[in-house]
Symmetry: C2
Subunit: 376 residues, 2 copies
């Protein structure tokens, strides 16, 4: 099931509510990424404590490990990983794309060798749907080909982007057929492709809208293109999608990217940046970013962000986090991941409150000024 | 301050209550080890949740990082690491001893090069007390020389063990003098040495008892000796210590060692085994040990231990833990550390309940039978 209620708008920005099989998600929302059935270094109870509403899983990874037999045995990913709220899974398309020269794409699907054990594998729109059914994901993503920014050393041409986009469209139809073969409590999202070409984005979008899917994503951004190129596509595409359906910008991005995305009409975001940067001692805060390894934090008794209410900022100082990082202690990435995810989740909560209060433009101005101010 | 109340005895086994500057500790007790100001991979809130009453810190490590200036600035280790309950710190003696050929022992103290940055350092009974004062440890350990089981390739001789034990005694007196130079809310423990020689253990013990310290530890066990040798010393020494003062067996050991230690009259234990083994996917349970990497757990929906009430066993299956371990996910050591520490902490809670109920011998018999049964 999927219901989407549009509660409030401000320009292209939207305040919504998404009802899924495992619960309600207030939008705009940031979704922490749990590739292998765990948001790296974070207990599910910590995710609940910080107010995470929905998390991601990766079809490709979970197919390889633990494997579909195990996930079937557990009745899906929720019970396996101890998370009872909604889950969205990507289709495996992006991961297969990341394999680069190690995979071979045909009309039928993608052949590749397992990076875990070398087994020859074949992923198709149909198998992607079957795996995501085993995962029992609340939101199932179509299997697509992620159009790269560069192809064989040159910028992807319009011709190449069109061929790729049209393949993703044919795969969208096969996904929908396979998805509908069984009764299904979950929802299938289509993915708009088209590379850096606005007219291809529109062709992709229109054809997907004809399939009347319950939600749509914008894929093929954050794939190596310069920031202005990404911004051009993010400004172009989201508001052209149906107003009564949720819109998901895949794999984006910095806090600034998220706020710009909301302003452009996006409802849902995911990104590994908060957890990956946390493991590199790079923390996001209201007043710019903090590099914990900087020796100026050695004696700094303040929390990472004095306005932050996360577990890390409530209990620990910059000096302590700097010390843990310096000693290579596991608690350093643990506490940094809690902080960064809380920052992202809370940023979207503040966005929702501003939209509710009709003060989104002021919020955006303040957000930009605060972030530019930098940390003292 | 230190008050020790002896509530119950059964043979040499004792049920007690220790009141320290930062709170009350029910004994027998297991103390998780937090070397660098963190119990590796475990949030302080998880330690509280599992019922940990007191944790360790390492004087040697904390002296090097973050350094005494930082700890002084925070008014001690408690606020720095976010733990408000009692803390015991070792004196650095054992760590300096572990440096092997890299250190030089004299009457005055130990000279060595910092393993962090090569700085030349000099640790003495006086500096150990000064560092532990900066840490504001509820229980301060005397600086001692840990007598090794083997010296230069041969079993440590009676002569060598005596020289070492007598040095530790002279250092105990210097520690007490330095400790008493300032008013102090904390308590200094002496450490009985004497190697594998019962008469030396008794000489050490008697001389330390003459100093009328508030508590005593047994050191120099778990230093490479065969298990029966350790058992011989653990059976010999604890009950010879003053009945009205707490007794701490340093660095021991397996669950079986702890239960034997209690039966021999020990009140307090610490060991890195639960956390270190957790990081190697080795879990302790009521019914023997579980090696999570074993592929038979791939589809095992049961918790690690069905009788266990820890966060890990309440929320996650063996199959999930096996999967996390196989994928090298940080959550694997995190969940395993929570389980193992809970097992140790809870084992001592069960011991206390048995002593309260007057059923300690039955408890020991059941404990041994259960552990020997093995996991299904």
């Amino acid at each position: 099931m999927l219901q989407f209620e549009l509660l409030q708008t401000d320009g292209h920005a939207r305040r919504g509510r998404l009802t899924l099989n495992h619960g309600v998600v207030e939008t705009p929302v940031f979704m922490p990424v749990g590739t292998y059935g765990t948001v790296k270094g974070v207990l599910p109870s910590s995710l609940e404590e910080m107010g995470a509403q929905i998390i991601l899983g990766n079809t490709f990874h979970l197919w390889l490990r633990p494997g579909i037999d195990v996930l079937n045995q557990f009745g899906g990913l929720h019970r396996f990983e101890g998370w009872n709220k909604p889950i969205l899974t990507d289709s495996g398309g992006f991961q297969v794309w990341s394999l680069g020269e190690m995979r071979k794409i045909s009309e039928e699907g993608v052949r590749f060798a397992s990076p875990v054990n070398g087994d020859k594998l074949f992923l198709t729109p149909e198998t992607s749907m079957q795996i995501q059914r085993a995962l029992n994901s609340d939101i199932v993503m179509q299997f697509d080909e992620c159009t790269p920014y560069e192809t064989k050393g040159h910028l992807t041409t319009e011709r190449e982007a069109r061929v790729s986009m049209e393949l993703s469209l044919r795969w969208a139809k096969r996904c929908l057929d396979e998805f509908n073969r069984n009764e299904n409590p979950n929802a299938l999202f289509g993915i708009v492709q088209g590379g850096m070409f606005e007219h291809l984005r529109e062709e992709s979008l229109n054809a997907l809208v004809d399939l009347d899917l319950p939600g749509y994503a914008i894929g093929g951004v954050s794939v190596g293109e310069p920031k202005p190129e990404m911004q051009r596509i993010v400004a172009h595409t989201p508001h052209r999608l149906p107003a009564n359906k949720p819109r998901y910008l895949m794999g984006v991005g910095t806090p600034e990217d998220l706020v710009e995305g909301v302003a452009a009409g996006v409802d849902m975001f995911d990104c590994v940046m908060p957890t990956r940067n946390a493991r590199n001692a790079h923390l996001f805060t209201r007043f710019g970013d903090v590099r914990l390894r900087n020796s100026r934090f050695r004696t700094d008794e303040r929390p990472v962000d004095e306005t932050c209410t996360c577990h890390t900022c409530k209990h620990f100082s910059r000096a302590y986090l700097h010390h843990l990082e310096r000693c290579g202690e596991m608690l350093a990435p643990m506490l940094a991941s809690i902080h960064n995810l809380h920052y992202y989740v809370n940023l979207m909560r503040e966005v929702r409150e501003a939209l509710d209060a009709g003060t989104f433009p002021q919020f955006v101005a303040q957000f930009k000024a605060d972030r530019a101010r930098g940390t003292t």
